[in-house]
């Protein structure tokens, strides 16, 4: 177990290092690193001094090491666009995105798994086929259009849910949350659905096909032959086995939620980091872009780390190292 965790951790760090390399290259070769640090109006001497201080006259690996060192200490540079430390900008916006991604993930998981199981068990039923086809619409229209359509339906026509923003948020010091107020929770509904719909569809189809596969397995046939009830067979035996291959993929799908939040945040004027990222791309705000990249990677890696642990807990075969190689 420990070795497994360590290896995963090591891989996660490796991923982060590569991402750091990408973001460093952005800094080094696209943006002007000096301007990042001191702002564009600094004098020539300031720049030269800075150049030496930063070791930009040093070989690339050393520079990269220094960059990683700065990142680890939370120094991400200063935004070109607004002139404030990137870390502050992100910290202000992160709670919004994380709460949105969290709700979307829960939505995608609950409905994805639920519908997946349903459509697998009732494969030939009309309702299952209808869900399957309908779910395709979720991946056949761009997210932004679905978002706008939802706004017009639920906000303008039905007037039951807010159309933009986070509603009332509660400031808990380092974290502002929308979970503690009614309007905050209501505001989460539409964006979370919009963001989660795509992943939900994917998870649902994945669960369905895995479940169909598992339902054909010998141990399921044997479980039936033992006279177990349908419930025990479907939810006791089949579902658990289905989830094992599905978990990995779900990790990947959910891990990219933060990145996908860009679109949802634009449509719903959700004050999160994705929104920030859009403006930074438009204004070539390299420090922000680079930091966002790291952030998305970090989120992805963390989710996958958690998923791997989960994997480990669910599948006893892993503990004995029988199937250590996960591919």
């Amino acid at each position: 177990m420990l070795a497994f965790v360590l290896r995963r951790l090591f891989q996660a760090i490796l991923v982060m290092l590569v991402v750091a390399l990408v973001s460093f290259s952005l800094f080094r070769f696209v943006g002007d690193p000096i301007s990042v640090m001191v702002g564009q109006e600094a004098t020539q001497e300031d720049r030269e001094r800075m150049r030496q201080e930063l070791g930009l006259d040093q070989p690339f690996p050393l520079q990269f090491a220094a960059y990683v060192g700065r990142i680890v200490q939370g120094e991400f540079g200063i935004s070109y666009r607004v002139g404030r430390p990137v870390i502050d900008l992100i910290a202000e916006r992160l709670p919004a995105t994380l709460e949105l991604a969290f709700c979307a993930a829960i939505f995608a998981l609950v409905f994805g798994v639920g519908f997946g199981v349903f459509t697998a068990l009732r494969r030939t039923r009309f309702s299952a086929k209808a869900i399957m086809t309908f779910s395709l619409i979720g991946v056949s229209l761009p997210t932004f259009l679905i978002g706008i359509a939802l706004i017009y339906l639920f906000s303008v026509e039905l007037k039951i849910l807010p159309s933009f923003g986070r509603g009332q948020v509660v400031d808990l010091g380092v974290w502002t949350t929308g979970f503690l107020t009614v309007s905050g929770l209501k505001s989460l509904v539409l964006p979370a659905i919009t963001l989660g719909l795509f992943q939900m569809t994917l998870i649902m189809r994945l669960v369905r096909s895995e479940m169909l596969e598992v339902l054909r397995a010998d141990y399921i046939k044997f479980a039936r032959a033992r006279g177990l009830s349908d419930r025990a067979v479907h939810f006791g035996h089949a579902l658990k086995n289905t989830l094992i291959p599905v978990i990995t993929i779900m990790g990947i799908k959910l891990g990219s939620l933060v990145a996908f939040a860009i679109i949802t945040e634009t449509v719903f004027q959700w004050p999160g980091v994705g929104f920030l990222f859009i403006s930074s791309v438009q204004s070539v705000d390299i420090p922000l872009m680079a930091t966002y990249l790291l952030l998305v990677a970090l989120f992805f890696v963390t989710i996958n780390l958690i998923v791997d642990m989960l994997y480990f807990i669910v599948d006893p075969r892993l503990k004995s190292g029988a199937a250590l190689a996960r591919h």
């Binding site: 761009p142 259009l145 998305v296 890696v301």
Partner: protein
């Protein structure tokens, strides 16, 4: 000896066609009205896009051919200034919606196919190598795939656009849009193919027919291409069809985020982006028709992919 070779039955084209028609896949296709409808839609859109210059009443790429006064003409209604009538109306720039859809499908299909093609090329090659070689090569390739998975296509595309904006002169932005989209989507989607191909290759590699080929002394490359590759194409095709729909939508999304194809060179995505501004204003046709086209295209491709997945899975038959 001689007679033996001549005794081999000649298979006529007719028989071949009949065999294809009679095959299980073709049969399951014929058995599913939904799939056939989806196939028809895809073919229609395809032909429409291919023949756009012939079918379209105007070339929306050529600004000289447009008359702004034609703008916002409702479908099948005479324009109040020019008295022109358009089947699906015109957009805010006076472009015939039908023509823009035809041309727009071209851009979308181009991006979709090229991106999926690129992703497939990279993914299948790397997946084959990783699966067949194993060991450290495998580890390296799969770790790279893991890293790539960290970044979904929109993020990669936006990054590339962001960087290009920073380093390249503006004039090139418009011309670069399509290649960058292809590159971005292609680059971010390959791990799926690589993973699948690698998985299948790992299985196939240990099958006895591959060992038999090794005993014969065939070179690894020959074995990979002749023996392993045909066996991985099935699943790859399935991911490919589904990926195609996703790529087309990714293109639309990037247009919405302002980093896609420029509005003067419509793709289905830009058309929808333009149209969504009119969602409440009464000019419904500007949004509706491109959206329906995209929906029909993506839905059909997805349905075909779904069908293919089931049809190629012997266990589901």
């Amino acid at each position: 000896m001689r007679e033996a070779s001549t005794a081999l039955p000649k298979v006529s084209l007719r028989q071949k066609l009949h065999k294809i028609w009679d095959s299980d896949i073709a049969y399951s296709f014929r058995q599913s009205p939904v799939t056939m409808a989806a196939g028809l839609v895809v073919i229609l859109i395809f032909v429409g896009a291919l023949l756009a210059p012939l079918l379209a009443t105007q070339d929306p790429f050529n600004p000289a051919g447009l008359n702004l006064m034609d703008g916002k003409t409702p479908p099948l209604t005479a324009n109040e200034f020019t008295q022109n009538v358009y089947l699906l109306g015109t957009d805010d720039q006076g472009r015939d919606v039908l023509s823009t859809i035809l041309y727009g499908s071209r851009a979308s299909l181009l991006v979709g196919f090229a991106a999926v093609g690129l992703a497939m090329l990279i993914g299948v090659t790397l997946g084959l190598i990783a699966g067949y070689r194993g060991g450290i090569v495998d580890s390296i390739i799969m770790r790279i795939a893991d890293i790539q998975l960290t970044f979904p296509s929109i993020l990669v595309a936006m990054m590339i656009f962001g960087v290009f904006r920073g380093v390249l002169p503006v004039q090139s932005h418009a011309t670069l849009a399509v290649p960058v989209l292809i590159l971005a989507i292609g680059l971010s989607d390959w791990p799926q193919y690589a993973r699948t191909v690698r998985g299948v290759t790992l299985v196939e590699r240990n099958k006895e027919y591959v060992q038999a080929a090794r005993v014969i002394g065939l070179a690894p490359l020959t074995i990979m291409i002749r023996h392993v590759l045909p066996n991985v194409l099935g699943p790859v095709l399935v991911i490919g069809t589904l990926g195609l729909a996703l790529a087309i939508i990714a293109e639309a999304t990037l247009s919405y985020l302002g980093v896609g194809v420029p509005p003067t060179q419509p793709s289905l995505g830009t058309l929808i982006r333009i149209g969504q501004e009119y969602i409440a204003s009464g000019e419904w046709w500007i949004l509706l028709f491109p959206s329906l086209t995209l929906l029909a295209l993506a839905l059909s491709v997805n349905l075909l992919g779904d069908w293919l997945r089931d049809a190629l899975n012997p266990k589901l038959r």
